[in-house]
Subunit: 232 residues, 2 copies
């Protein structure tokens, strides 16, 4: 897992938004690396707040960034956590709106920051980067649309199964996911009680085992098959 420890617990990435760097050819990558500045954020540091007006594009070179909002009753709701190689900042830059989420560094994090002007120049001059940026934003849109459809049509246990599988695939092999149930609840925007119950259902089916800060998935295949049956 590329994310590092926080409060003694590694944080698995809940939702894999479209990666940015990995899709770029080496050359274009080098052109970007030659631009902007690199900034460091330590674990837990705030990168920006919802409503801020900063307009720059950021690429995560190390660590992770969690995007969240405070609900009406003050509860934290996490949209996503982006990891190394992923990028953010498209909304302020391209849609011209303030930051839509709070962003916090998870683990020791290095960001490459490109200003509005640098970004404009890059987009005008570099066809590779241009199509990569368009691809990046479009994939974000796709992922959020799927998230919306899932929330509209699937019960929590199925959404939970999906995201457990996604986390599993990210840490190829290891059957143990290190995450607190409260974090999972935040990510799915449900109460801790509901999440615990949904996990209990999966446990009842023999699909997961749960403990203090971890969830084991003995058989990825069994979970996958159960999920497919669940989706009809």
């Amino acid at each position: 897992m590329e994310e590092t420890a926080r409060d003694g617990l590694a944080v698995a990435r809940p939702l894999v938004l479209g990666s940015f760097f990995p899709g770029l050819p080496q050359e274009a990558r080098a052109r970007i690396m030659a631009m902007g500045r690199v900034e460091h954020r330590r674990d837990g540091a705030w990168i920006h707040q919802r409503g801020d007006h900063g307009k720059f594009f950021s690429i995560i070179e190390r660590g992770a960034v969690r995007f969240s909002r405070l609900g009406l009753s003050g509860e934290v709701r996490v949209l996503a956590t982006l990891g190394t190689g992923e990028a953010f900042g498209e909304l302020p830059l391209f849609a011209g709106v303030p930051r839509a989420y709070d962003a916090q560094a998870i683990g020791d994090t290095m960001l490459r920051i490109l200003s509005h002007d640098e970004m404009d120049r890059l987009l005008a001059e570099d066809g590779e980067v241009r199509s990569q940026v368009l691809r990046h934003v479009s994939r974000q849109l796709l992922i959020v649309l799927e998230l919306l459809e899932d929330e509209r049509s699937l019960p929590l246990r199925a959404r939970l199964g999906k995201s457990l599988l996604a986390m599993l695939r990210q840490q190829d092999g290891a059957a143990r996911i290190r995450i607190r149930q409260s974090d999972l609840a935040e990510q799915h925007a449900v109460s801790l009680v509901a999440l615990s119950k949904a996990l209990a259902e999966l446990r009842g089916e023999g699909l997961v085992m749960t403990g203090y800060g971890w969830i084991d998935i003995p058989s990825e295949r069994a979970l996958t098959q159960w999920l497919e049956a669940e989706l009809d």
Copy 2:
């Protein structure tokens, strides 16, 4: 209202996705108008289905297009209806995935269709168009993110109030919205019963009046104020 009749009832646009044409300067507009081909679709005709592989960008020059999906139990769930001047096709073109929704013409509809190649050329050559396309996709992302947040945090009556206000503003002045409750229910991905009940709540507050195929909003201000109070 720019959408025309369907089944005898005009269909109000439920969700205003980022407009495309209106944001473009005349010149760039003319450059686009010189490209692609124009196709006609009559009311109710299918433009594409979820899963199709066609990769082209479409701009609505007249009429409207409704994007929907079939749920697990066969029910129709509408994501959005785009009207004149708006565009679609970014996911297949830029994210490289098949069509994510079924698309159907609402009313007599004219589409300007740009092929993948034409689009690539336009993006490479024309800075105005490039930033407009980026802006367009980013605004779609923004709107879907807000939709997701609303569904996660607001009760149906508040979401309903929001979308009624949005429809009102689109038909500046006229207090009567012509829409069936079943359409509203589809757009909000809830049952007809739940929607009818939510409308009854608003009616109880004196904020709306309802009838066969229409909803009246006597005071936009009153509804706005109620909504603000509702959001705390």
